[in-house]
């Protein structure tokens, strides 16, 4: 009962403990049995007040009762609040623990009551469901302790609680709503809850992200002032990290949601020296880490690459580079910024190119790369910073042939700039400095400038170093081996092993896949004996790695040997190994590399991280190289006898090859002949082609001509048809307008009407006269009446003559009318239809014209023929119009004539009227009854109206 003592804290007397236990027992009874809510509430409140002091007793005795309260007394938020508080107090270790860190490893303290009680609580899965439903209660006194309790449960029993939340409907979604709580305490504790909830559970992480977590968290961060904000910002960043780390789906969603752009302003802190509070350093550190999560080398390459792209596009990388070159940035922020920039540019050409172009704001401006390398080979800089710079340099060169070339170029005699400090100079300086860490870093950095790049490996062979005065310059390659073999001559800071391991890694990388470099290396007679001596000696464990690397280098000299040096052919070197070292011994020494304790850690990830400077031995890329080479070199050494056989086989097959070669030669000869033929064909084809081309251009010219002609014709035709089509202008010119025609028609109509009236009057008068005659006949006939009759007779004949004249006039008018109409319709329909038809015809012809040059002329001829026929038609139409005009003139005359005649007739009629009147008078005087004529006149008026109507109809018909 160790923990009991802990709980009681020693000062308690056993009596006090006794009474405490008893009180708790009593309180529990009351909670269980009291019928009044008030009583139960008081009891729970009392339990709460005892729960810190008597944590164990309350936990063991009261837990079930408290859970019961949660189930049954939901309506009273006060008692629920007390119960939750009490449960929180017994689960939480916060009171006991001094430092509850975020570190997962420390999550479970050794003497942990909280874990036990939490386990008891969650054994009933419904309890978590119950707790989740209580969190929906808005009341602060329920929600707040509820949040804290669930957070504690998650801390102690993460996976189980996560699983329960996951399967309860909308469980995660509802917890997300805590972020929207207007009460800051709950929102902030909600953040802590979500942090625990999302720990190492991808499914929950995804749901939380789906519920717009990014948006909400980024909003909170902005509201709180980004890196200047308080611990809430830190909590948001930690939650974001939980959601994104190792979760590709969520990373993709983050990128696709354009949230990378929203990170950029976080880093606008460069030169604003508003001070660096501890919180700000923490916040910024987490912000940088979040960037790194998105572009981590362990992510799928495609994912990292697209994030890198958007980081450049939105200016985030640029912003980071400003911090990189700014002054007054705390060292650990600077270090993390370098690491972040490293991963943002790693393997991304655009970003690498940008990085190469960044200058430090110094006078004169220096490339950022140079400034950084200066720190790398500077012993006074912090170790982690130097590692970060190395990482940055490696990332800059990763899959960047261009960058590798640029770095190596700064060492080459032709491009060396004596005035400016260059990357190459700094690396050489580091390589041969008295600081072993600088040696190692410079060697590895230089190796990265050669990695997978045969061109640069050869280029670097050209580098010569001036040594002491009087001595000839020595190649960089030789200088490296010299330092190796001279061993102890120089007094160095740090470990000798580190320097040698660095140089050997550089040499191995350099010689791999580069036979010329191997030849260079072997050319110096001292090198091979040095290596064999190193390998064969029986040295202490601290020398094992160097021995292994020497074996690797010798192996490379064999494997990539092109046998160009007689004394150091593959075979000779192998024999040497057999004689001096022994195959088994050799492979055992070779095996020392991968068996080294730091090898596997370096193999894990590209970033060079070491727990202490002494552990800085392996480079990540080099571990990959070793893995590849160990196998092939071992094979090359062991299979020597078989290889000989193989070589003979190869020779045999080579002889076979000879015959094959001669066979191919004959084929080539045949093909040569064919090629010659083809060339000739091509030449002839070319000349034909030229001819064709000239013909085509000729024809094109012709086509153009024809086109021009055609266009000209079209324009003319268009003008003509304008003439033709718009009768208005033509008729206006001829003074023969449709209005005139209709006016004439109206006049004629009017005349007709008048004539009709006259006729009607005449016939009436005839009737009258007849009736008069009748009456005369009936009456006594005397001379007077006979005279009158005669007179009447003459009048009648006169009337007949006149009506005949009128009829003739009418007929003439009708004729005229018809003529006018036909001429009008003829001129109207003259082109519109025919013309449009021919236009489409012409258009078709144009199309044909473009295809067939020959057909064009004919078509054009047709066109012009048609055009002349058109012209003829136009002429006839015009002449018809002229004729019509003449006729019209005539008609007008006739009309005036007929008008005159009519006038005469009217005079005549008036006379007759007069006569009739006098006759009537006489008849009346004679005592004959005479009809009145008033009625008839009114009937006439009605007839006139009818005629008017008809007129209007006629007009309308014409319009249609």
């Amino acid at each position: 009962m160790n923990f009991l003592r802990g709980v009681m804290g020693g000062q308690q007397t056993s009596g006090a403990q006794q009474s405490g236990t008893q009180t708790i027992q009593k309180l529990c009874d009351r909670v269980a049995s009291a019928t009044l809510l008030d009583d139960r509430r008081d009891a729970v409140r009392a339990l709460k007040s005892l729960s810190k002091k008597y944590r164990f007793d309350v936990a063991t005795q009261a837990m079930d009762h408290l859970i019961n309260v949660l189930q049954t007394d939901r309506s009273d938020s006060e008692i629920i609040g007390y119960a939750l508080d009490t449960l929180y107090n017994i689960m939480s270790n916060d009171a006991d623990e001094t430092a509850e860190s975020e570190d997962e490893n420390q999550q479970i303290a050794p003497d942990d009551l909280g874990v036990q009680f939490s386990e008891t609580f969650i054994n009933q899965q419904e309890n978590i469901t119950l707790l989740l439903s209580l969190l929906e209660e808005f009341d602060f006194h329920v929600r707040w302790p509820g949040v804290k309790l669930l957070t504690t449960l998650l801390k102690h029993q993460g996976p189980q609680v996560q699983q329960t939340v996951l399967v309860s409907p909308m469980g995660v979604s509802r917890l997300m709503d805590l972020l929207d709580d207007s009460r800051e305490v709950i929102r902030n504790d909600g953040l802590l809850l979500l942090q625990q909830l999302t720990k190492s559970n991808a499914a929950i992480q995804k749901i939380v992200a789906f519920e717009n977590a990014y948006e909400r968290l980024l909003d909170i961060i902005t509201e709180e002032g980004s890196s200047d904000g308080g611990i809430v910002v830190e909590d948001c960043l930690l939650l974001l990290q939980n959601l994104l780390k190792y979760n590709n789906s969520n990373q993709n969603f983050f990128k696709e949601g354009s949230y990378i752009q929203r990170m950029k302003p976080w880093f606008e802190v460069g030169d604003d020296n508003s001070g660096w509070s501890a919180q700000k350093v923490t916040n910024l550190h987490l912000m940088l880490q979040l960037v790194r999560v998105l572009v981590s080398p362990v992510n799928p390459p495609g994912a990292t690459n697209s994030c890198q792209k958007s980081m450049f596009q939105c200016g985030l990388l640029q912003q980071l580079c400003i911090i990189l070159m700014a002054t007054g940035v705390p060292a650990d922020i600077l270090t993390e910024t370098i690491n972040t920039v490293s991963e943002v540019i790693r393997g991304s050409q655009v970003n690498q190119d940008y990085f190469a172009s960044v200058n430090a704001p110094s006078n004169p401006p220096r490339p950022a790369i140079v400034v950084l390398l200066m720190s790398m080979v500077n012993e006074r800089q912090p170790f982690v910073l130097r590692c970060a710079v190395l990482y940055c340099f490696q990332c800059f060169l990763y899959k960047n042939e261009k960058g590798q070339g640029e770095i190596v170029a700064t060492l080459l005699p032709s491009t060396i700039d004596a005035n400016a400090l260059s990357a190459g100079q700094l690396l050489c300086g580091g390589l041969f400095s008295t600081d072993s860490l600088s040696n190692w870093c410079a060697a590895v950095a230089l190796a990265h400038a050669l990695l997978d790049n045969a061109t640069q490996k050869e280029q670097l062979l050209r580098v010569q170093l001036a040594t002491s005065i009087g001595n000839p310059p020595v190649s960089l390659l030789q200088q490296c081996t010299n330092i190796l073999s001279q061993g102890d001559k120089l007094i160095r800071r740090g470990s000798k092993v580190q320097t040698r391991v660095g140089l050997l890694m550089l040499l191995c990388t350099w010689l791999t896949n580069c036979p010329i470099a191997v030849t260079h290396f072997l050319h110096n007679a001292a090198n091979v004996p040095f290596l064999t001596a190193q390998i064969s000696e029986n040295l202490g464990e601290e020398e094992h790695l160097v021995q292994g690397l020497c074996a690797l280098l010798l192996g490379i000299c064999i494997y990539y040997n092109d046998n160009s040096l007689e004394n150091n052919t593959k075979d000779k070197l192998k024999q040497l190994i057999e004689k001096r070292i022994g195959k088994e011994n050799f492979t055992e020494k070779l095996g020392f590399i991968t068996k080294h304790e730091f090898y596997s850690k370096a193999a894990q990830k590209p970033q060079p991280t070491f727990s202490s400077p002494d552990h800085m031995l392996f480079d990540h890329e080099f571990t990959k190289l070793v893995k590849e080479l160990e196998v092939v070199i071992t094979k090359a050494i062991y299979k020597s006898s078989e290889e000989d056989k193989k070589e003979e086989e190869v020779k045999k097959s080579l002889e076979q090859h000879d015959s094959i070669v001669s066979h191919y030669k004959s084929i080539i000869r045949e093909q040569d002949i064919k090629m010659e033929e083809f060339k000739q064909t091509i030449a002839s084809l070319q000349s034909t082609n030229e001819q064709n081309q000239s013909t085509i251009s000729l024809q094109l010219g012709q086509i153009q001509q024809h086109k021009d002609q055609y266009n000209l014709l079209k324009v003319q035709l268009g003008k003509d048809s304008q003439h033709h089509g718009s009768q208005n202008s033509t008729t206006q010119m001829n003074g023969f307008q449709p209005e005139d025609v209709s006016r004439l028609k109206g006049e004629v109509e009017e005349l007709k009407r008048q004539q009709d009236i006259l006729q009607g009057e005449l016939s009436e008068k005839n009737v009258l006269i007849e009736s008069l005659q009748q009456s005369q006949v009936d009456g006594q006939t005397d001379q007077m009446t006979e005279e009158i009759q005669k007179e009447l007779e003459t009048l009648r004949s006169q009337l007949h003559v006149q009506s005949a004249e009128i009829n003739r006039l009418q007929a003439e008018r009708m004729e005229l009318l018809q003529k006018t109409e036909t001429s009008g319709s003829l001129s109207a329909s003259g082109d519109s239809s025919v013309n449009s038809q021919s236009n489409t015809e012409m258009e078709q012809k144009v199309a044909e014209l473009l295809k067939e040059i020959a057909g064009l002329k004919e078509h054009l001829k047709n066109q012009s023929e048609e055009k002349s026929s058109w012209k003829q038609q136009l002429d006839t139409a015009q002449s018809t119009a002229a004729i019509l005009q003449d006729e019209n003139q005539k008609l007008k005359q006739e009309v005036t004539e007929s008008k005159k005649e009519q006038d005469d007739l009217l005079v005549l009629l008036a006379d007759q009227d007069q006569k009739i009147f006098s006759l009537k008078k006489r008849l009346k005087e004679l005592g004959e009854p005479v009809e009145d004529e008033d009625d008839m006149e009114s009937g006439d008026a009605g007839d006139e109206d009818d005629i008017d109507d008809d007129d209007e109809d006629d007009v309308r018909d014409e319009e249609d």
Partner: protein, 211 residues
């Protein structure tokens, strides 16, 4: 990069009907012949154009296996569109549609647009469910219907785009509350009206009232 609207989709349906393949075909224009069982949920995204407007689709491809059902249910609420997929060569996947639909209707917001998808139309010889049956089911339950093949890419584009069109129309009609992100719709940065958030609808109402 900038979009006028952002729509959230989910893809649901029995395991093996081709949900992940449909998404892959839509986002990457590739076909994956091996069944890579989806664990939980996977995310994909693509930009489309409707009515001259850029629309970003964010798509959550859910696992069809029964054991993931409780996880995948968490995604219904926040989605504006759902593709409910069955396999025309397996009648049981068609028979389960009712259960899927009930589940979706129960957990989603009522305006969620559901597109019924009859996948694997390239396997005509092994067809077990007639097109007419799918059409009838869709008609009966008020869904849009489409036969697709994630393998040949036939109708895949259309399935995703037509769903978006339907959502877009609903927005135009004012059915969706576009200011509530829980509906799975978000207005793009250049589209949001200046002034107070949520002034979009309010502004329209004010305009109507002043006449």
């Amino acid at each position: 990069m900038a979009y006028a609207y952002l729509f959230k989709y989910i893809i649901i349906g029995d395991t093996g009907v081709g949900k992940s393949c449909l998404l892959l075909q839509f986002t990457d224009k590739r076909f994956q012949p091996v069944h890579d069982l989806t664990i939980g949920v996977e995310f994909g995204a693509r930009m489309i154009t409707i009515d001259g407007k850029q629309i970003k689709l964010q798509i959550w491809d859910t696992a069809g296996q029964e054991s993931f059902r409780s996880i995948t249910r968490s995604y219904y609420r926040g989605a504006a569109g759902a593709l409910l997929v069955y396999d025309i060569t397996r009648r049981d996947t068609f028979n389960h549609l009712t259960t899927w639909l009930e589940d979706a209707r129960q957990h989603s917001n009522s305006n969620m647009v559901i597109m019924l998808i009859a996948n694997k139309s390239d396997l005509e010889s092994r067809r077990e469910v007639k097109k007419e049956e799918g059409e009838a089911f869709a008609r009966e339950h008020g869904l849009i219907f489409m036969e697709t093949s994630a393998k040949t890419a036939s109708n895949v584009e259309e399935a995703f785009i037509n769903t978006a069109k339907e959502i877009y129309e609903k927005i135009q009609e004012g059915v969706f509350d576009i200011n509530n992100e829980a509906n799975g719709i978000k207005i793009g940065p250049q589209h949001s009206t200046p002034g107070s958030p949520g002034s979009h609808l309010g502004g329209q109402q004010a305009g109507g009232g002043c006449c």
